[in-house]
Each structure stands twice: as C-alpha cells, then as structure tokens.
Symmetry: C2
Subunit: 390 residues, 2 copies
C-alpha cells in the first residue's frame, strides 16, 4: 500500500521522513485540488452571486467529511486556521468565576501552555499542572489516578492532548469522561488532537470532549493554514465567541438594531471571517487518498507493526532510553539518548543523510513518527544511521 501512496507524495521522493507530527507532506493530487478550487473561484467569482453556492458547497462537504472522521454532527464543527486557535479561541469564551481552576497536563505544547497562563492571570484562575512526565508508569489507570488528585469542585477546565505530543501516550478520553461525569460540577474537557487526527481512529472518542481541535497539516497530510474543532452542545450553549467576524453572525445587522440573538446557534459562532477556501479541497483530497475517512484496520496495524519494530530495534542499543513500554499502540516512538547533551547534533547528522526526525522541547528528547507511508526500509535505514552516529 505504501508504495502507491509514496509515489503520489513529492516530498517523500528525496527524503526518509519521520516528522508527520510536525507537518505531513502534501500529496500532488491535493495541491492539484487546491489549484482547481482557486481557478473555479476566479472563473465564477471572486465576489459575485454565483460564487457563494460553490463556497458553501466546499465548506459543507469538508465539514461532512470531517464529521465522519470525528464521529460528530456537522453543526458542532467549526473551521479554523490552526490548532492553537481551535483550542484557545473557545477557551476565552468560557464564563469564569474567580474561584475557578484550570488543569493542564505537563505534556502540552508550549504555545497552549502560555495561552492558558495568560488566561489564568487575566481571570484570576488557579493554573494547575497535571504532572505526567514524572510518572513511573504511564498507563490508563495511572493517568486516571493521577488526574483525580488534582480535580476538585472548583475545576472548571481540563486541557489535555488525546495523544501526548512528547510521549506518544494515548489518553483514555472515554474513561476520563465517565469519571468526570460523576462529579457534581462537570469541568469542560478541552482536547488537543494535533497528534491524533489522521493518525489513529478517533471517531468514537471526540464526543467525549467539549472542545476537540485538529489540524489539516500534520498526520492528515493536508495543506497548512487550515484546522477544525468540535464544540459540544453544552459548550455552544454556555459560552460566547471572543474573536468575532461575519462568520460568527446569523446576519450582518445594522449598528442601530438591538444586539441580541445575533450569533450563529451552532459551532459557526466560533468561526471568524474570510479564510482560504481553496485549502478545503486539498484537505478532502488528502483524507480521501489516505483513507482516513474509513476505519482501516490495515492502516492501523501497518503503523503499529512498524513502530513496534523500531521500538525493538532501538531497545537493542545500549545508550537509548525508550520512553513508553512495549508494545506501542500508535506511530509515535519517543526516546532519549542521555549522553547526548546537544540533541540537535544527531538531528543534523541524520538530516545530512536525508533522514528527518525531531527533538521535542519539553522534555527534550527525540520523536519519530511512523505513518502508513513509512516502509520497513525507512525504519532499517534510521536504525542503521543511529547506530553509526551514537
């Protein structure tokens, strides 16, 4: 399967690529779909009565496809520019009171962390770190036990990635939802889907969140500058939009008309204004080419068989410290080489051989992403080069 796909992805022709969690390569046909969409908009528009039917069709067909992958209703989906906007924008719409507390794991992206700190400072919220990095065993049970040490009656928001970007651990959203639903006041569960969407099947778990943000440009191999987020009915009803534009509004009303009943009643209230419509067809093409819209047992098993193969090969090397225990259940393989104080030297040396893995920032260690396009040969080459270089 991977050969057919690789042939359609120009970026994979001249490199051995393991950075799908940073940015996925764009298939040729996805770029072609984007260009075609631009040409159509210019042919019938760009700002004519005729163009709106096309633009609406583009938006609706993209949301329909996303609703299938995410297992949610189209009315709960908003489009965005990236994950940060998809998480932080709804967060600012929550009606906080001064005793509220926010829990964020210590395995979140630094941008999200900084945004939450700013939110807490301005709203006098308690900023509580859920310490996962230090756990001796990171599994579903220890995760639930740990997080419940920090949840209390003032917990208003929990922020967690579905797949932790540094560890690759998949957080048990369903169990977490079941547990928090027993609380008297149920906190909002806000989930970063950066490392899950396009990588693992998520359509039975998104509904367990209140906000779930994804991006086109990582594992889904779509264009950059396009994201989407799910918002639960509860969240839509209880919160307000913050960065508002014409897309947030039911209609463009006059300034002298009363300001009420103005926002869209669905997730569109969190959309802002003009965005790049041609990107939508590119994302749809990538999702369809990679068959991310279908449950695909073969895809999942080919990813995990290779990630576990890599795990075993690295485990044979003395100085490598693998972060998660065998067997892995997805394509992220994280490891550290303690004796390397400057981790970037290894990245650069591998890069000279056109092999690309990355260092994550917090904690500083290595991350390899295995996708359905990755081959056994790629994995062998990586292991051989690491052996040579350390």
């Amino acid at each position: 399967m991977y050969e057919v796909l690789r042939d359609q992805i120009p970026a994979l022709k001249n490199k051995i690529y393991f950075n799908y969690g940073g940015q996925g390569p764009l298939p040729k046909s996805s770029l072609e779909a984007i260009i075609k969409s631009w040409e159509i908009i210019q042919d019938i528009g760009p700002f004519t009565n005729n163009v709106w039917t096309y633009i609406n069709k583009e938006i609706i067909s993209t949301k329909l496809l996303l609703s299938k992958v995410l297992g949610v209703d189209i009315k709960n989906l908003a489009l965005s520019e990236n994950i940060s906007t998809g998480i932080i924008l709804p967060l600012w719409g929550i009606k906080f009171s001064s005793t509220d507390e926010l829990i964020i794991s210590d395995c979140e992206h630094p941008g999200i962390v900084a945004a939450c700190r700013e939110l807490c400072q301005r709203n006098n919220l308690k900023f509580i770190i859920l310490p996962l990095q230090k756990l001796k065993i990171l599994d579903n049970k220890s995760f639930i036990t740990e997080i419940f040490k920090y949840i209390n009656k003032n917990t208003k928001v929990i922020i967690i990635s579905h797949v932790l970007w540094n560890f690759g651990f998949k957080v048990p959203l369903k169990e977490l939802r079941q547990e928090i639903n027993r609380l008297k006041t149920v906190p909002y569960l806000i989930v970063d889907g950066a490392q899950s969407f396009g990588h693992i099947d998520i359509n039975e778990e998104v509904l367990d969140s209140d906000v779930y943000a994804v991006t086109s440009h990582k594992w889904a191999c779509g264009p950059e500058g396009l994201g989407a987020f799910f918002v639960s009915d509860k969240f839509i009803n209880e919160s307000n939009p913050t960065i508002i534009g014409w897309k947030s509004l039911k209609r463009e009303q006059g300034i002298y008309e009363p300001f009420n009943d103005l926002y869209q009643e669905d997730a569109r209230k969190f959309e802002i204004a003009t965005s790049c419509i041609p990107l939508l067809s590119g994302l749809r093409q990538s999702l369809s080419l990679l068959e991310i819209d279908k449950f695909n047992e073969h895809r999942q098993s080919s990813i995990t068989s290779l990630s576990n193969k890599l795990w075993l090969a690295l485990d044979d090397l003395n100085s490598i410290n693998l972060i998660l225990n065998y067997p892995l259940n997805n394509g992220i393989v994280s490891f550290d080489i303690e004796k390397l104080t400057n981790k970037n030297i290894l990245i650069n040396e591998l890069g000279k051989k056109n092999i690309w893995i990355r260092v994550v920032e917090d904690p500083k260690w290595f991350r390899v992403c295995i996708h359905q396009m990755t081959s056994t040969k790629d994995v062998n080459l990586l292991v051989d080069q690491i052996k040579v270089l350390i």
Copy 2:
C-alpha cells in the same frame, strides 16, 4: 495600462467587475507564485531543518514589502488570517478599567461592531456610536467636529475605517491623530484598512494609528486567508496577546520554567501559530504586479478620473441618489435608488449581464469599486444597464 493587467487576471476575462472592495481577482502569476512556493516547501521540507530558512525568508520579504506600502517598520507588523482577526485580536489585549469607553463609527463592518459589543459587555465598557450616517455634509471638518462630541477623558479606544466601507469617505487620520494627541489621556486609535490597502496610498497615515489592519484579498488582489496589521510601539508595550501560539513566543519553554519575559518583543507577539506560508508569495506578486508598492500618480488619477466619470453619469439619472459629493478622491462610488425596495433585484439583473456590483448592508445601498483595471468601457456598460433596469 489596464489592458496589460487585465490580460493577466483570469477572473476579469468573463465579467465586468466592480467588487474589489469585497474580493479582488487573483492574477494568474500570483497563483503560480503560490504553487511554486508549495512545491519548494515540499521539496526541501515540509518539516526539516532546511525548510525554516525558506519560511523565514518568505515571512521577512513579505513583511518588508508590506512595511514599504504601509510606511512602517517591519518590527511593528504582524501577519494574520483576515481583517477581523487583525482588529479584534489586539483589541482583547488592552488593559481596560471599568470606566473606560469605546467609540465606534456607525460605518463599520457588522462583524467588527458585534465583536466590539461583546468586548464592551464582558469588560463593562461604555459602547458609544459615532453617528456619521446622519451627517448632512461628510467632510474632514465635520468628521473631526462630530467625533469630538463623543471623546472625553474616559475614551480608551476609537475604532474607525480609513475609507468607510459604505460611503467611500476617506477619514482624515492625520488630523484625528493631531487632535487626540492634545488630550490628557490619549485613546488607542484602531483603524480598519479593508477599503484602503491596495486602493489608495496609505504610507503616510498608518503611523498615525495604534492598530491598522489590512487584508490581501480585497483591493490588493492577493489570495484570501492572509492579512497583516500594524501595531504601534505604545500598543505593543502596553497590551498583551490573547489568542497565543508558538509564534507569539520567543522560545518554546518548558511548563516548569518561570512564566515571564516569554512573548516576542515586537508585533509578532500578536501572531498565533501555523499559517499558510505559500499565500505570502501570492500577495507579494499581486502587490508588485499592480505596483502597489510604489507611489503611482497615474494609478491614483486613473482610478479617480473613472470614479468621477461614473459619478457624473449616475448623477444624470433621475432616481439615483449619490452618497458623497463630487469630486470623489478614490474609487468607491456609493449610491441609492430609493424607489427600489428590494435592492438585490438590481444586483441580480446586472449579474445576468455579467456585471457585478454589490449592496452594502448598513445602510442598504449600492457600492461600485473602480480599480486601475477598470476601463471606460466597463463604466459605460454599467451606466447603460442601470438606465435600462431602473
């Protein structure tokens, strides 16, 4: 000049187009530049050490070109997705107190109006409407007199378009700045450049604002989904970012490190996260093709001679009520036909002849945009058809 340009703009080949203020048509060479940029990113990236040099070069060369058009320093420029984000995002970063007042003109876009109402409700600010629609004479003097009826010691923010989207009137920013600088507490001046950037020369007036937001996809004829905004040094120093991502940060620090001195010290603190880099080359190409980066007397005079020609021709028709007095100083021609209660009928009938003008929402009347690509023949055709249809 216009023939050479039109030949390079596919959207103009099959229609008579007057909606530059809604969305400008994308030149063929701008789409080609976008595609080329995507191909380069895929060739050397998408997520490799090598790609960052290219991405940084794209960002810096775009900001350099914009800094020339806007007449500001590159450190005061942030990139965004659209105008609404460029205006509303910095606005949420202002440190308000409960006696503060916000003044907004009644000639602003409904999306901006709704966002300001939400901001005022949440921060208990007084929302004050500057009534320009009802002014019998709208000129520089009457504008300054009118706005100073509403400014007082509590005025914290003034929100105004540089060129009013419904009237086409150009607000005297320089005079306004001079006057407000005499106040004891100087309010922030936040300017919507939707109808100015790419249309009129603005490089001597942007510096008179605290925030000035522009978009690629209107008069500049660049791609949709890309905007930029100027923020003054004062604004950068006195306000905080709200929707934060990795671009807002100096470095991606660990969650256990102290949270201070974290934001970029220039306008980048208001940028968020991953955006669509290939759009940048498209905007640069459009700016360069239309020579928007140069002061171009011929461009300005060809636009105003045609807009005034249209004004005179419409003035000859009985039932047409022109909004501004002759002579116009830019390409926006606004008029009403009172006897037409359903304004969209005229839009649709003109559309059937492939002539595209629009109805603005507040007040409901017609708007025609004349750009440097517009020909005398276009204007004559429009006038002839309006004569037939009313």
